[in-house]
């Protein structure tokens, strides 16, 4: 059952050479990044899409993506796309999933790494000059080009799950926000109605909100207090053990 050591060494050497040649020449694939860029506006969760370049998919929308350059890290590439398309540097970005089915792209084998990013629409609204790019309500996104619908769906599901265990959702709001805005955000992302009082209690009990002693302005009703999220405190105190629960 056990092979002699010599055989192993020979195997190892052979394997080494094969790896080297394969890395250097054949067996390569094109690699792309696709960004699912979420925004929050008019109490709706939205996603930034662009019209497809390819004739076959004309009039279909696609995610914002690009090929990864040889000297570019994946995250760097994703940040480039964001910078280029939204003008924003400082955005929340997280890798979600890699899609690599052989026939997923009509132009040949292209493996794509999907990133989710959350941006504050107000901060960048005026920076989109390309009128082939638009914000779409997530609920109305259908029939994207390529397999982008599938990618979008999985990123949206990912967000719905992730937002319950991590404060990334706050990246969609301005730095200062009212509790109502925060609740609207969660209701939009999760597509549920929440009890205002329990929501408030829950967030206050987590104790990561800092009262700014300011109030909303230009609202057609009583202005709410404004808060900011204390990310440092969150990092120090975040839950490690959530408990077994399927």
């Amino acid at each position: 059952m056990a092979e002699p050591l010599k055989d192993h060494l020979q195997k190892s050497i052979k394997s080494f050479k094969v790896v080297q040649s394969e890395v250097q020449s054949i067996n390569r694939v094109a690699l792309s990044i696709d960004c699912v860029i979420f925004g929050f506006d008019e109490n709706k969760l939205k996603v930034l899409l662009i019209r497809s370049d390819l004739e076959k998919y004309q009039n279909k929308w696609t995610l914002l993506g690009d090929l990864v350059k040889p000297n570019e890290d994946l995250e760097t590439s994703a940040y480039h796309i964001l910078k280029q398309r939204t003008g924003l540097n400082d955005v929340y970005l997280e890798q979600v999933h890699t899609f690599g089915e052989v026939c997923r792209h009509p132009g040949g084998r292209v493996v794509t790494v999907a990133y989710c990013s959350l941006i504050n629409i107000q901060h960048h609204r005026l920076k989109i000059h390309d009128n082939e790019i638009h914000w779409h309500e997530v609920e109305k996104v259908t029939e994207l080009a390529f397999d982008h619908q599938k990618i979008f769906d999985s990123c949206y599901k990912w967000l719905q799950k992730r937002v319950q265990e991590h404060p990334l959702g706050l990246s969609l709001l301005p730095n200062k926000f009212s509790l109502r805005e925060l609740q609207n955000l969660y209701e939009a992302i999760l597509n549920v109605k929440l009890d205002r009082r329990n929501f408030r209690k829950k967030f206050f009990s987590m104790d990561f909100l800092v009262d700014m002693n300011e109030h909303e302005q230009n609202v057609p009703h009583r202005p709410g207090r404004l808060y900011k999220f204390d990310y440092e405190k969150y990092e120090r105190n975040k839950k490690k053990w959530s408990g077994i629960d399927f």
Copy 2:
């Protein structure tokens, strides 16, 4: 601010051509799969590692991996690795993260997609003929070759989180198992001590365990009842909403 339509069309056409050529020739990278294969034995969580092929990393251990073939889906490739190394077809497998730093691999640009798989050690133990492959206790895994330590660490953390919200951990046990075995598993994965009575209550209340009306055999003490996990019931009844909690 808005460009004329003609400019856009020209841009689109140009962009299309660039995409085509880039996909077909340059800007390609080698793509690999690395599998973090977990097993559970002697009440310890273990991971399957192989000795590095490369001289530079001799005597270092690495994850089991391989380059993705041009006509191979990512998951297919991962299953191939598992079949080849463990002889098992029917294993739990999930993609975790893609690592693509430019300099992560000494042989050139290699982007690797990490998969986590969980296997039942008893089922395959005798099928590993390669004596350069060994099971390692996860707590003692250090200094793997390449960036494999980083990959392993993130997969281990992923498992610790995932096992609390999904029953994938049960793939590490035989089909029939006692509650003690199940608890040992969770204690090993999460590296905690749990209260036996509360653990039992929790699992029974989820109501996915089916009493087999059988008992453990060959244990030097009172045999415990054996259960199996009802995956279908789980799929029907699993939690959708876990609640906001950081």
